[in-house]
Symmetry: C2
Subunit: 224 residues, 2 copies
């Protein structure tokens, strides 16, 4: 049983493959240390990812906290009048992605910081990676660095932010995960929230391409 002042790892866990691999990363690098996983409901269409997050937390034996936020607006992932992007040419996409959710990572980090800072020191772990730098401002290294400072200076316990995959392509995350026994069949990515996954939305496309680049086969089922 961990006391209130114990250092605790706080993982932003979506139930997708990046944050699931990050759970394995924390376990591998900080064996035996307490981990709290956080999943957020913010009005996303693919709230089915919550089930995946629960399954992942259970598989790793880590505690899981669900936080319900006021609905975020302004994204294809949240707004009924904005269609989900699909069949886009991701390799040549420019500008902010339609699935960017305004300030989502800052919001999640702030809530994790607030909850953790009430109890003791810790690190907030974020599974952002290189392939998202173009489309998502809050997945870039300069954001991670600034968020780390904001969380450090803005909390009584001087919490920190860590994002070890921030310079990794998604394929490298998968390679590392497969070599460390990550059970990708538990994860969920599809923006449409479908099972089997749609295979055509941006995130299904990115996931499939990354498995191919990693020389591996995605274990989840796809419609096409």
């Amino acid at each position: 049983m961990s006391g209130p002042a114990d250092f605790t790892h706080c993982l932003l866990l979506s139930g997708g493959l990046d944050s699931t691999t990050l759970a394995a990363w924390i376990v591998a690098h900080h064996p035996g240390e307490p981990i709290d996983a956080f999943t957020f409901l913010y009005g996303q269409k693919h709230a089915v990812e919550l089930e995946a997050a629960r399954a992942v937390a259970r598989a790793f034996g880590i505690s899981h906290h669900l936080v319900e936020l006021p609905a975020i607006r302004g994204s294809a992932l949240t707004d009924a009048d904005r269609g989900l992007p699909q069949d886009r040419d991701l390799a040549n996409a420019v500008g902010v992605a339609p699935s960017y959710v305004p300030a989502r990572n800052l919001l999640f980090l702030a809530h994790m910081a607030s909850i953790r800072d009430a109890n003791g020191p810790g690190t907030l772990w974020l599974g952002v990676h290189h392939d998202d730098h173009t489309g998502y401002p809050d997945c870039r290294p300069e954001f991670v660095e600034a968020a780390d400072m904001a969380v450090r200076f803005g909390t009584q316990f001087g919490l920190r932010v860590a994002a070890p995959f921030v310079q990794w392509p998604k394929a490298e995350i998968i390679r590392w995960g497969l070599s460390h026994g990550v059970r990708y069949e538990l994860t969920h990515s599809c923006y449409q929230g479908r099972r089997p996954a749609c295979g055509v939305c941006d995130t299904c496309q990115a996931r499939l391409a990354a498995f191919t680049a990693a020389g591996a086969t995605d274990p989840i089922a796809y419609e096409r």
Copy 2:
């Protein structure tokens, strides 16, 4: 009528005297530009400040948004089992204040950033000041600077954070406000949420001392 891409000033408005003076500051320095005020409910005992915030927004003719968050824990301002500080020797207080609310300012800024970033560019205004540097980590200049970078890099519109009073003592805020017609009788500060104000909680004490230092009289009523 302002369009979605108009630059908008977003004010964190508690209904206290610092944020109320900040409203006047924005109006004075950016005349005619749109201002959205945000007040947060986060389980605070003194939710009566919401009435003051509404009155202040009305007096300035600015739009007012109420955001209800999951309850924050870990502060004398929120937890039933933590008494509100009173009759403390504030001039000689050291360490984090009992009324520090874990990562509150980061949380508020993140929500304001998320709401604003869905629509267009803007600045997020924060009324933190010098007298709170010791007791509240998230009122220090290093936090403001880091939060500014986190919000800038973590949003599609590159929002910014401004805190023009961050190096001012509270008395100086009052002096500036009085010379610019701020109606302090509309504001509310008491942590106990009382009207008349208790006069003994930390914030009543700080407020009374600041009015005295400014050579002025606080227009609100006190129990003692």
